[in-house]
Subunit: 493 residues, 2 copies
């Protein structure tokens, strides 16, 4: 008999039950070839004595192996390693003489056997949350997320109703409760008048931008954006084969005069705008320009794609309502997100529009992603219904307001000459322009060495221009962390 | 003073705290115009007496209103309705004289003010889980999902580590734990040899099909599928502007001779195949045809898109390994899903391929959906690691095996003349062909009246053909429910 006492190592301090540990280790012995197909295992009593375990533990462990298919119980004879072991011997996906395998062996990127075209415009840096200090792109502070309320709502979803409906295939447009609650919330806070049928739930605002781009744009169509703007949007426009034109952005937002000139010279299909706070510069589109933009849309028949991802973060007593609230002819596709209001990992966004558009967006969404996450959508809908969500919004807004004020005061007092900025009226980041002589890339690298994550801002540069600007997100850091971050910044500039 | 006692209705039996109820109702009175901007509210002591509440409840309720911004506390003077009430008076999104509003008033679909093209090929029925009896498309039984294990893993994710990283922006390719565990699992069960870098986590298999289609296909490219096949795939091919050709499917799967003829006559970009169990007919691709298909791919340089969504459900002792396991030249893009193995609402799927392809798929995914759900991906990764997932697979497999046998026996004994079928070797549904004289639509309607949901199967018909077939899913029903469903079927045929 095999020396099981030497081969099997059980640890009662682990959270995994002992019978499962034993069963897994028997599986490993089979995979390793130590136990072979058809081999008889010791009797349960015998193995219990050998391993100093209760016999029931051995029985449970053998049963587990039988359930998993790699042990067989033969009545009156004992337990055997299955003749056919379903976990097959691995084979290489791609063998040595193939391109991919030789790439892998050289440690380079593996290439497939068929040709495919890479889209170079998709090669943009992806910003993620890191450990340590941060002045990020304008991320929220996930430590403030209403986790207790969310997890309570999750639990009620898990416990209530018909599991086949709750965890089965549902509505591509989103959970009915969230569509209803979002419709109410958007009407109350943004001056829209929607019904739930006007609301499509998406995964974050980017899915809304993607679906709207794919449905509204065809190759050769012209889209106008501000210079510069969010790459997540322009990459989507370019993916459709559309041509992207840009107009300047000044302290009052998009240059609408330039847009009018474009309109006279060619058909425009769509204008992309974030009137509340333009990305990356955080400026607000002036009311007069808003009215003209809507007039141009009506006159020339283009769609306005309004990305209002940070409307819920405004530090003036009276935010300017979105364009969609003044839209009289159905020109605006309104896109928003809750990811920044709750936490980025909770991927819930929305698109608002006439039902004919919502229907078509949903049809497209269906072939990409079938449906959203009904647990999450229900939980967020429930938090709107109980008022917890609005309470959370108010509380985080006060916190971010204080952080903005503190951060801007720090920049002014600690870095008076190095950084130019305007205190933003809303949003989660400051647009900071550094001394043109400063090497932004080197500065970001020095900051990283001191534990501060900071984007070098090079991706904000339009072709041929050197803005020497970057976004400094203040919302995800406590006031204490902001002080430490500014101290690092001061040292590395 | 207003008659607060009549206006306010509090219910202690509700789960919402009384102070929140009061605060919400005050908010509603403001929205309704009963309380007006600048109006002074009763003192806390006075309102407490009026409503027969503890004074602290009133204080908490007023504080809540202040926190939400629609009450103002003026020191030494009391609590007032805010002069500016941030929940603005709703305006119509689209007013009367616009097309959309007049559509809405007529109860028809609202049209936007800009033109857009609808893609008619996206208008296919969407199958969802319903209450009552069901013989569905092959849905899993969500009642069997490992909810306790999942919710334990969720809790550990919520409690452990840095919330900014856990709930912030993460890796577009998926949670590292799940990529690692899936790589191991796929190597063990499917004979692949992958590293985690070869695995992209998606939302269900359909996102894998979408991404692969968008990256590999360009307008005018030719894709070959079986006739008939899953519409979720063909809609994705057509969305790219590709031309979809089909080859017949017989009892051994795709007709590879016909494919070879196509290859001689034109460039083929991609072949779509589900070798394990073709949809909808459940046939398995014969080993000889698999070898030829791979040879043709190498010879002509086309990609094979292998949708192996139900490999985990096989009722023979030795399933045939996927094409990807025999792929020597990196011709196969391998797509799979866990949604049917856990429950459809838990949207986790994957694509396996060489790293150059995985990188490009992830870049595209980023502009659609940024990232997946890290909580869910971690939880499922954890269940693989502990062995819970495999245990769950084995247990559901046994259950579905028994349900398949029971259901097929019922069809044979109860409907001997009305239904033709072959007992499927795997998967969750039987492909049933009914008497050509039977009106499938009328039958499905009669069944619905008797509480049984059943697809009429018309969407499986190729143009000009009348298959009179539909899929009868047995997995989501208990044996008792299957008996009731077959009894209904017998009555309505």
């Amino acid at each position: 008999m095999l020396p099981f006492k030497t081969l099997i190592h059980l640890d009662r301090s682990l959270p995994v039950p002992v019978f499962v540990q034993l069963s897994n280790q028997l599986g490993q012995l089979i995979r390793a070839g130590t136990l072979t197909p058809g081999q008889r295992l010791p009797g349960t009593r015998q193995l219990a004595e050998l391993l100093d375990l209760n016999r029931q533990t051995i029985v449970a462990s053998y049963d587990e192996g039988v359930a998993q298919g790699w042990l067989e119980s033969r009545s009156g004879s004992g337990t055997y390693v299955a003749d056919y072991f379903p976990e097959v011997k691995p084979q290489r996906l791609i063998v040595k003489n193939s391109q991919a395998a030789s790439d892998r062996n050289r440690g380079t990127t593996e290439q497939p056997g068929y040709a495919f075209e890479r889209l170079d415009f998709l090669a943009r840096p992806v910003l993620t949350n890191q450990d340590g200090l941060r002045l990020d792109d304008g991320f929220p502070d996930s430590r403030l997320a209403p986790m207790d309320e969310l997890s309570r709502a999750y639990r009620s979803y898990f416990r209530w109703g018909n599991p086949q409906k709750h965890f089965g295939y549902g509505d591509t447009k989103g959970h009915p409760l969230l569509r209803e609650q979002l419709s109410i919330y958007l009407n109350e806070t943004r001056g829209l008048q929607t019904t739930p049928e006007n609301v499509l739930i998406t995964r974050g605002s980017i899915m809304g931008l993607h679906l709207a781009s794919q449905v509204l744009l065809r190759p050769g169509d012209v889209v106008v954006t501000g210079e510069t703007t969010w790459a997540g949007a322009t990459m989507n426009f370019r993916k459709t084969g559309a041509t992207v034109l840009s107009v300047p952005v000044d302290e009052h937002g998009l240059d609408i005069d330039q847009l009018a000139i474009y309109c006279e010279n060619q058909p425009i299909r769509m204008v992309f705008v974030t009137p509340h706070h333009h990305y990356p510069t955080t400026v607000t589109l002036q009311p007069g320009r808003r009215v003209r933009l809507l007039q141009l849309a009506e006159q020339y028949g283009f769609a306005i794609l309004e990305d209002d991802y940070d409307y819920d973060f405004h530090y003036l007593s009276r935010p300017i309502l979105p364009l969609a609230s003044a839209d009289r002819q159905g020109m605006v596709v309104y896109v928003g997100s809750l990811t920044k209001s709750v936490a980025p990992a909770f991927r819930v966004g929305y698109v608002v529009g006439p039902t004919a558009l919502i229907d078509e967006l949903a049809r497209l969404r269906r072939i990409i992603d079938r449906q959203g996450d009904p647990m999450l959508e229900f939980a967020i809908g429930q938090l709107f219904k109980t008022g917890d969500m609005k309470r959370h919004f108010r509380k985080t807004l006060r916190t971010y307001h204080a952080r903005r004020d503190h951060f801007c005061a720090l920049l002014t007092s600690e870095l008076p000459d190095a950084v130019q900025f305007n205190k933003p009226d809303g949003g989660l980041a400051v647009w900071a322009r550094f001394d043109p002589k400063l090497n932004m890339e080197a500065m970001a690298q020095r900051a990283a060495q001191e534990g501060l994550t900071l984007a070098n801002g090079l991706f904000h540069n339009p072709p041929g221009q050197q803005l020497n600007g970057t976004r400094l997100g203040f919302a995800s850091s406590s006031e204490d962390e902001l002080e430490q971050s500014v101290a690092v910044l001061r040292r590395v500039i």
